[in-house]
């Protein structure tokens, strides 16, 4: 075996590892010789889409990255760092684990949660909140139910044991995700700005440690796998599955944070995709140093692992640590305390070369710089083309859609649809309260808010993306995703500060799928500039497509998930979304428009799939948010909730269910009633206020020049629109709260 590995490789082997012929030529040029198999596998994994971003980096570079509060910009460390005052910074990032979850939903989702949290605590930050954004095929399908149950249990079992609460998330169902669910997990942490740990290696002679779990054969080639099309056959691809151990991760967290208190660490990097290969090369390339690594010293779970297996293993819960020479004991003692492995496997060298040894014999030598993104990794300019469907969407005419015969019945049906109804079945399986920071448990709000104990401040956070909007119009739809995230932060009383993104798209070699990607980036840039929310990092996941027997792969809805954080400077000014008292006035900030495009109502109830994104004017959106934040902070309003999926009616029901309060409102006669109630035109926020504050509110709003109207008032339980009775809030609540559970559990009882 050893000799086979040492021999020169062929272009066919390179192709089998997922490399292009031109990439193989480039590797030979870099090395000045033909690589052996170990070296070739190192290049194949580092130059995979997953690690190199070779098909996306050109466009990612155009995203706005500068911001007043950014301590660390995108790409510099494992995650972005935002200054939140009091000597603290917030580290946050979102990542996908789509393809592993398609194969083994429980472990796929669990290890996704593990990976993103490691990114945060590797920086020395303690994770304080998690969010997740999930997408599946139609929930009525048994396969979807299996995926959903597995993913939710995987996220829950890992996160609950690890001990970080879930503060927000979204779940969306659409045909396009049938065999390719999306599992995007976000973690938010806080760190003392003076105690951050860098992911850079330096200092010739400094020892290199591997800490945490032992290395096994699990997940070998996982990163390459993640970059390949997935079809039904890949369920047989056994080694691509990794098993998560949240207990080990919890120990690793506590040990790492203890380490951050010492001055023993030069740098630290978690091992995600591509394991030791990725961590050694990225840490080295960053500082311009090299490393000498003895693979035989790596603790392994199995006997006789080959060098390339050790290098590529994606065994979870491991880190690479570069330690200041002479301070090894400090590090070893901390890991000993937490019963974790900490083994010296090599040292930092001069010159930028990575040299891997097995039992004293060099098995691979490659230049770190040439392996990594921003170094020698390939960068491609991909072709893109506007698909025909886009022009079709723009032809949509609302007059072609008749209004419903029975409005109350339509309204009740809408709030029970899987995409609209409460996701209680999902989030009650997550610990949402551990850490005693989640102030939204007893004060529901458009964004999750984690308090920073002792400071009076909080961090508001949300994940948002209506992928149907993005599909119908990628540029506008992505702008809306950013705008909606900011709107949620604002409704909670926060000031939007920065975003992380998780870009889930189809095959980049398909020009129409790539067009969606390019347009999404453009829409995101525009909105991030407008809302002053720079992009601090994230990830790209291509090759998301649903494959059905005997037909061509269909890309999933393009899904650029936006994770946003915002600062609540004074928790006493944070805002909840629930109706408070009967008789409170209900106002609309923003204006009603004649628009039902891309709404759940149009798509699911009317069955019309072709329409543009909902009405959106970015300047108006900005003004509406500014005015709302002012009203929230000044205490003029006692509830704020944005109008999003499901439209105004859904919004009002969501505000009413907590205290069982209804509403009596007057519709805007200038638009169709279905536009008014069910349309998803953007830039609209519902607020309520004590009638005694009406004059102050009106005066303050008039100064903002943002349109607003009195809709009506909060009732004891009746839902009235234009003097028509739409039923009682308790009945609406029953439908909204329990519909999803009824569908998911329907197969169990029948």
């Amino acid at each position: 075996m050893e000799t086979a590995e040492q021999q020169g490789t062929t272009v066919q082997q390179a192709k089998d590892l997922g490399l292009l012929e031109s990439e193989f030529e480039k590797i030979k040029e870099i090395l000045g010789r033909t690589p052996n198999f170990t070296e070739l596998s190192i290049f194949s994994i580092m130059w995979s889409e997953h690690c190199s971003y070779k098909n996306s980096i050109k466009w990612l570079k155009t995203l706005p990255k500068k911001g007043d509060h950014l301590l660390v910009e995108a790409g510099e460390e494992n995650a972005g760092l935002v200054d939140i005052g009091n000597g603290l910074a917030c580290a946050f990032k979102i990542e996908s684990h789509n393809h592993p979850s398609a194969i083994e939903p429980y472990q796929g989702a669990a290890t996704g949660v593990g990976g993103i949290n490691r990114d945060i605590f590797t920086m020395g930050a303690r994770p304080i909140a998690q969010l997740n954004s999930l997408r599946f095929g139609p929930i009525q399908n048994e396969h979807t139910k299996w995926l959903l149950r597995g993913v939710v249990k995987g996220i829950g079992d890992y996160g609950n044991a690890f001990g970080i609460p879930v503060l927000g998330g979204e779940v969306f169902f659409d045909e396009s995700y049938s065999t390719n669910p999306l599992v995007n997990a976000m973690s938010v942490g806080i760190v003392d700005v003076n105690k951050t740990i860098s992911a850079t290696s330096s200092g010739v002679g400094n020892p290199v440690y591997i800490v945490g779990s032992s290395t096994g054969k699990d997940g070998i080639n996982g990163a390459s796998f993640a970059s390949k099309d997935i079809t039904d056959e890949s369920a047989d691809d056994l080694p691509s599955v990794q098993v998560g151990d949240p207990f080990q991760e919890k120990l690793l967290l506590e040990a790492t944070l203890e380490l951050a208190e010492t001055d023993a660490v030069v740098g630290m990097q978690d091992m995600g995709a591509a394991g030791i290969t990725c961590s050694t090369s990225e840490m080295s390339a960053d500082g311009g140093f090299g490393m000498k690594i003895h693979l035989d010293k790596v603790p392994t779970r199995q006997e006789g692992m080959l060098p390339f297996e050790i290098l590529l293993s994606e065994s979870q819960e491991r880190m690479l640590v570069v330690v200041h020479k002479g301070k090894e004991q400090i590090v070893e003692d901390i890991f000993e305390k937490w019963d974790l492995n900490a083994v010296e496997i090599g040292e930092v060298t001069d010159g930028g070369q990575l040299e891997y040894f097995m039992n004293g014999e060099m098995v691979a030598t490659v230049p770190a710089h040439d392996l990594v993104l921003g170094g020698g990794a390939p960068v491609y300019d991909r072709e893109y083309r506007e698909p025909a469907y886009f022009a079709e969407n723009l032809k949509f005419d609302i007059d072609s859609v008749p209004e419903p015969d029975d409005y109350p019945a339509t309204a009740m049906k809408l709030i029970g649809l899987p995409n609209i109804a409460s996701k209680r079945w999902v989030y009650e399986q997550y610990d949402t309260m551990v850490g005693t920071r989640n102030i939204t448990t007893n004060g529901p709000s458009d964004a999750g808010i984690a308090m920073i104990k002792g400071s009076g401040k909080g961090i508001a956070m949300t994940v948002d993306c209506n992928a149907r909007y993005v599909h119908n119009d990628p540029k506008t739809g992505t702008s809306i995703a950013v705008a909606e995230a900011a709107r949620n932060i604002v409704c909670a009383g926060g000031e939007p500060s920065a975003i992380t993104n998780c870009l889930n798209f189809g095959n980049p070699y398909n020009p129409e799928a790539y067009w969606q990607f390019v347009m999404a980036i453009k829409g995101m840039s525009e909105a991030c500039e407008k809302f002053n929310t720079p992009v601090t990092g994230g990830n790209v996941s291509f090759y998301n497509q649903t494959v059905k027997e005997g037909s061509e792969a269909v890309p999933v809805f393009p899904t650029p998930t936006i994770g946003m954080i915002g600062l609540v400077n004074d928790l006493s000014q944070s805002m909840t979304l629930n109706f408070k008292t009967k008789g409170d006035l209900i106002f609309l900030i923003g204006e009603s428009v004649e628009d039902i495009s891309a709404s759940e109502y149009l798509h699911t109830i009317k069955g019309v799939k072709r329409s543009p994104a909902p009405h959106f004017d970015i300047d108006r959106e900005f003004q509406v948010q500014a005015a709302t934040l002012e009203m929230v902070k000044s205490g003029h309003v006692n509830a704020a909730h944005d109008i999003a999926d499901g439209g105004l009616f859904t919004c009002l029901v969501e505000m009413g269910i907590y205290a069982g309060l209804g509403f009596d409102i007057t519709a805007d006669a200038s638009v169709r009633l279905d536009s008014f109630l069910f349309g998803e035109g953007q830039s609209r926020i519902v607020v309520t206020l004590d009638p005694a504050k009406e004059d102050d509110f009106i005066e303050a709003m008039a100064k903002t020049k943002v349109p607003f109207t009195l809709l009506g008032h909060v009732t004891r339980g009746k839902m009235m629109i234009d003097d028509s009775h739409f039923g009682f809030i308790d009945d609406a609540s029953e439908i909204y709260s329990n519909s999803l559970e009824r569908i998911i559990d329907s197969s169990v009882s029948s």
């Binding site: 083994e104 779990s213 054969k217 098993v243 019963d339």
Partner: protein
């Protein structure tokens, strides 16, 4: 013919078994250092009627493949014991 199948389902050797690992290390606390490499799986028994042992084997194997074991994560083996028909 009636059979009882005794099925053992174990995590694949190549995969980490976090549960077994935690139990292994706690053996030290109990003074049982000699015990290592704990791996934890499931034992399942079920009854199957079939016209022959071969047929029973095929049915149980099918049940293991399709439901009882998650072949991405687990391996299984079973033994059949013939019982008197009821």
């Amino acid at each position: 013919m009636e059979f009882i199948a005794h099925i053992d389902i174990m995590p694949l050797d190549a995969l980490l078994d976090p549960q077994g690992k935690a139990v292994s290390s706690s053996m030290k606390n109990l003074g049982l250092e000699e015990i290592t490499n704990v791996r934890i799986g499931k034992h399942i028994t079920l009854q199957v009627s079939a016209s022959s042992k071969d047929e029973a084997e095929a049915r149980v194997d099918d049940a293991c493949k399709r439901l009882l074991a998650n072949q991405i994560m687990e391996k299984y083996r079973f033994e059949l014991e013939e019982t008197a028909s009821v």
